[in-house]
Symmetry: C2
């Protein structure tokens, strides 16, 4: 029973994964409901600014028991004082986990369980971060260069973005005195 072929792929430090089969691009307008400082978002968009926040290159598979490989590039920048980040999501299939491998740049992985308990791990080159089953995860670029990391996760994980879009994470990662700081999200859970 062979339903799927092996492959090799080239991974560059700039985040290109070749050959990929999916490329996802997220700009500020795609993330307007996710950043905390709504005024900063609308100010930028009203001026015609719609910067690229992140890009994901993926090699996705479909058969049961397969693993997807994705490479995410988060650009450096802030909206208000909040660092650029990925939307963040729970997996639809709860009994699935994910492994991140830092390639370049530096950032934080913000994780949260269904009860709102938060975990934070650092991501950078030569660092691995493990996201166990049941935790929503968002990646945050706290550096001055692109944050690039590899992600491996089951092909049937599914993405639940809605829970985070509506409720947010309990913590925000913002710049304070030129450095990253973790603060409470004043709007957390306001559906």
């Amino acid at each position: 029973m062979m339903t799927s072929e092996p492959y090799s792929a080239k991974l560059s430090k700039t985040g290109m994964l070749l050959p990929y089969n999916t490329r996802t691009e997220r700009r500020l307008a795609d993330l307007r409901e996710y950043f905390s400082d709504k005024r900063a978002v609308e100010d930028a968009l009203s001026k015609g600014e719609n910067p690229l926040i992140y890009v994901v290159y993926e090699i996705s598979r479909k058969t049961e028991g397969e693993l997807n490989v994705g490479c995410t590039i988060i650009y450096p920048g802030k909206v208000g004082d909040e660092y650029y980040f990925t939307k963040g999501h729970f997996h639809v299939k709860e009994a699935t986990s994910e492994v991140y491998i830092g390639m370049s740049g530096e950032g934080l992985i913000l994780m949260q369980d269904k009860e709102g308990r938060v975990f934070i791990e650092e991501i950078k080159p030569e660092m691995i971060v493990y996201i166990p089953p049941g935790l929503a995860h968002r990646s945050v670029n706290t550096g001055r260069t692109e944050l690039v990391f590899l992600a491996i996760y089951p092909s049937d994980s599914g993405h639940d973005y809605e829970t985070i879009r509506k409720r947010g994470f309990a913590k925000l990662i913002v710049e304070r005195d030129g450095r990253p700081a973790v603060i409470d999200n004043p709007n957390y859970g306001r559906d």
Copy 2:
């Protein structure tokens, strides 16, 4: 339902994964039934030589839906004209796959399905190799330095070493005129 905590780990190019929870060491004597040139194996062992062939550092998990992370270091060398390799195994749970990420050195990943069909992919830094469900896999160091790569696979995959120990792979990877060559295994399937 939180049964498992997230973690971060440090991954060095030399193959150390810190903190690991399992370290597996394989010496020539552990692989005496796997190398093709039995005389070369027994000659070395009878002289008291029992070189280290490979070491695996792993972070293993136990909960359903989790992923293990392993880092394998295969030393450079040959037994007869066959390059040092890992035992190779099928997963016990067939619907599981695996992703390899090259860290340093160079080698080949030898894969084989239950019908004996062989696939070979190159592994080296900035290269990813994907092993789909149902394929046995062995890693071969064809270079002059340590081959180091990261592996990510489901925690409940299980390892079936017996099928390969008894039947071998259909192909051998040997040195010919100073370069790697793939040849038929004359003893393949002789249980």
